[in-house]
Symmetry: C2
């Protein structure tokens, strides 16, 4: 199996002006194709250092993937340096020039002269069409070493990788690696790992625990000749995990809990409403991230003050005074209020102290109450994150609210 390495080109990366998401994307996808990526590096738009990096990379890797520096300006030199390294001449690639001219014409613009250099390509390369920008990418070979050039902007790089780089690379890849993510909510990473301890020793597929933002997941990864063979290896392990973790699992290969909630609501033909205080719209935002959420979600109230909690949601003024806004009573009434107002089937509410400061009552930062109202009644969950981290607390509150909805929808007695 050939070894592969990634070189990201751009002074803006060295200065930390932008986050290197391209390298993560490429690393993930190359691993999925079965390539061992042993090195990633970042180098600036500098002729000598880029040439030295290529030289160093070629000593240890068979395939070098470069991203960035294919633009029209004089500091974009990746292609020129890569061709120098391989002693290849740049010649005009007419098709690319036509494509670029059309790209500008379609926008009602004339192509600047400077863009023409993007159509200069080595004669014997494989051209990667760019359907989302001007710079074509390419793959080229010399003495068994391969260099692939991809544009830096993620919205150009990602589609080009799938459309052109994957077909180019496939011939070197005799095995593929497939991962499935079993996503859980409501159980910590250690507790989850203990329940599947023996499975973590498994070799093909491997099973590895991860934790992030208040969630834990198990990644099941198999290496095989093809996708269906890899899936066949994973299936019994995923089934065993499913048996052991049960309702903690909200989905396999979903990206987030809101995806599970929207799918369950669709399946049950039910609608959700939200009443948010400290999360300030985050639950609504996360639900409506999911395309098609409009069929299951149509009403959310952000009630950041006591006055609005009372006026719009009908929370008792006495209870607000007596128990404070961050209380079991208020969470309940917020959920009941928006259930009634919206006519939805299930409603969820959050009231809490996200930080950095407490409210007038001196309740601890990280405390919150989540209310859930439906035709069978109302329930409340108290949450203490124990952290003074506004973003984290808001995110975890929203996740817990979504999980309460999920658990309700999974219940037997609400159909």
């Amino acid at each position: 199996m050939k070894t592969c390495e990634i070189i990201s080109v751009g002074t803006e990366l060295l200065l930390g002006d932008i986050l290197n998401t391209d390298a993560q994307f490429l690393a993930q996808e190359l691993a999925r194709l079965g390539f061992s990526v042993m090195h990633q590096s970042v180098v600036g738009d500098n002729h000598d250092r880029l040439l030295a990096s290529l030289n160093h990379a070629a000593q240890r890797s068979d395939i070098i993937i470069l991203s960035g520096g294919l633009g029209p300006t004089p500091d974009d030199i990746t292609k020129e340096v890569a061709c120098e390294f391989f002693s290849k001449e740049l010649v005009l690639h007419k098709e690319s020039l036509e494509r670029m001219t059309k790209y500008f014409t379609n926008k009602g613009l004339e192509m600047p002269e400077s863009n023409k250099k993007q159509a200069m390509l080595p004669a014997d390369c494989v051209v990667f069409e760019n359907n989302n920008g001007t710079a074509p990418g390419l793959g080229m070979e010399k003495d068994g070493k391969h260099i692939l050039l991809l544009p830096g902007p993620p919205r150009e790089l990602k589609p080009m990788f799938f459309e052109s780089a994957v077909p180019y690379l496939k011939r070197f890849s005799d095995k593929i690696i497939i991962s499935h993510n079993v996503r859980t909510f409501g159980i910590g990473e250690s507790a989850m790992s203990q329940l599947v301890e023996d499975l973590l020793e498994s070799e093909n597929p491997t099973v590895a625990p991860y934790a992030k933002d208040g969630e834990a997941l198990l990644r099941v990864t198999a290496m095989a000749d093809n996708e269906s063979e890899a899936d066949r290896l994973c299936a019994p392990v995923i089934e065993e995990i499913t048996n052991r973790l049960g309702d903690y699992i909200y989905g396999i290969d979903l990206t987030c809990i809101e995806e599970a909630v929207v799918a369950l609501l669709k399946e049950k033909g039910m609608k959700l409403a939200t009443a948010e205080s400290c999360t300030g719209g985050l639950i609504g935002k996360r639900i409506t991230n999911i395309s098609g959420a409009s069929s299951v979600f149509d009403c959310g109230i952000i009630s950041y003050s006591n006055e609005i909690k009372h006026k719009i949601l009908g929370v008792s003024e006495d209870d607000l005074k007596k128990y404070g806004a961050v209380s079991e009573q208020v969470a309940k009434q917020m959920a009941q209020g928006v259930l009634k107002l919206s006519g939805a089937d299930v409603a969820v509410s959050v009231t809490g102290i996200a930080g950095p400061n407490s409210d007038v009552t001196d309740k601890p930062v990280g405390l919150s109450y989540i209310g859930l109202a439906h035709k069978n009644g109302v329930e409340v969950k108290k949450l203490m994150t124990g952290r003074n981290d506004r973003d984290y607390n808001r995110y975890v509150n929203a996740s817990n609210a979504l999980n309460m909805v999920r658990m309700y929808l999974r219940g037997e007695n609400n159909g």
Copy 2:
């Protein structure tokens, strides 16, 4: 000036399992300290490759900053390999052992035997205390080359960098670099650059344009002996930019437009309300990201369906039928509706088609209307992003809504 490079250690980075935010953070902060970072690289938890990387780095850089691989498990080998490279012995550092034992005791836990290896440090190093985890970091020197070791988790790395690495590095840094970001909204990167074309040639400070997520900014960067000298160099250039770009500028050194909006609302003693359709809570979420937003924002309505737009916000059923939900008329009435309902001073609304699919009317994806209502009346802005990118459209819609609020608050006649 000494050269510096960053090596991130971790197989999970090579596999693309996690995004390398540490490298961006370190790159930014090192640039700020005046260091030239010419190389960043990623290497796995592998003895030989890590040693080779150190060797290569030491040939071209004076200071090597390593992050990750300081944990208690057998695959955490960064410290061991770095000491091997410098031929240094590891000895027990009692203070660190005590600190770690206390860290566990405070959590009501006993320290696992495996953690003890984290207290093994080279005898003559400078120890970096870890106040957010167990692994201490360190700085050490040999023959004029320096290696700094920092833990991988960002919540441990960042504070340790400021508390210990910065003091360690300060002695090598004779100049500092300070940047100020002039953030604009409502003008494209090219148009902005044209207005300040001559300033882009300036050398100290430099002025560089950037664009992201529908916004453009100018970064003014000065190198000087100290912060106040750098600021003195930047000041006249920032003033000149301010004169030329005027109201396009929403803030200098702010991180986002919602920060500017919350500050302006506070300054004017005014309250904002929101009525969101396609953005689904994102505007509320962004406003309430800002700590202290509760004094200026207390009511947001997420009205995702026509029914809720009518029932809660009082949008005319006839107009919904006649013009569709994505229309000037509906945007206006949504803003007016939430203004009345909330009793706020200014209200903003968004109704649009975020994609990937259009609504029943076949209006183009990326179309939206933003309404703004206040005591002097109501106005609407039509927006066409021209993109079928749900996340981008929602984000840019929210930003434009926030900018309409900002422009209103800056106006003379609303005081």
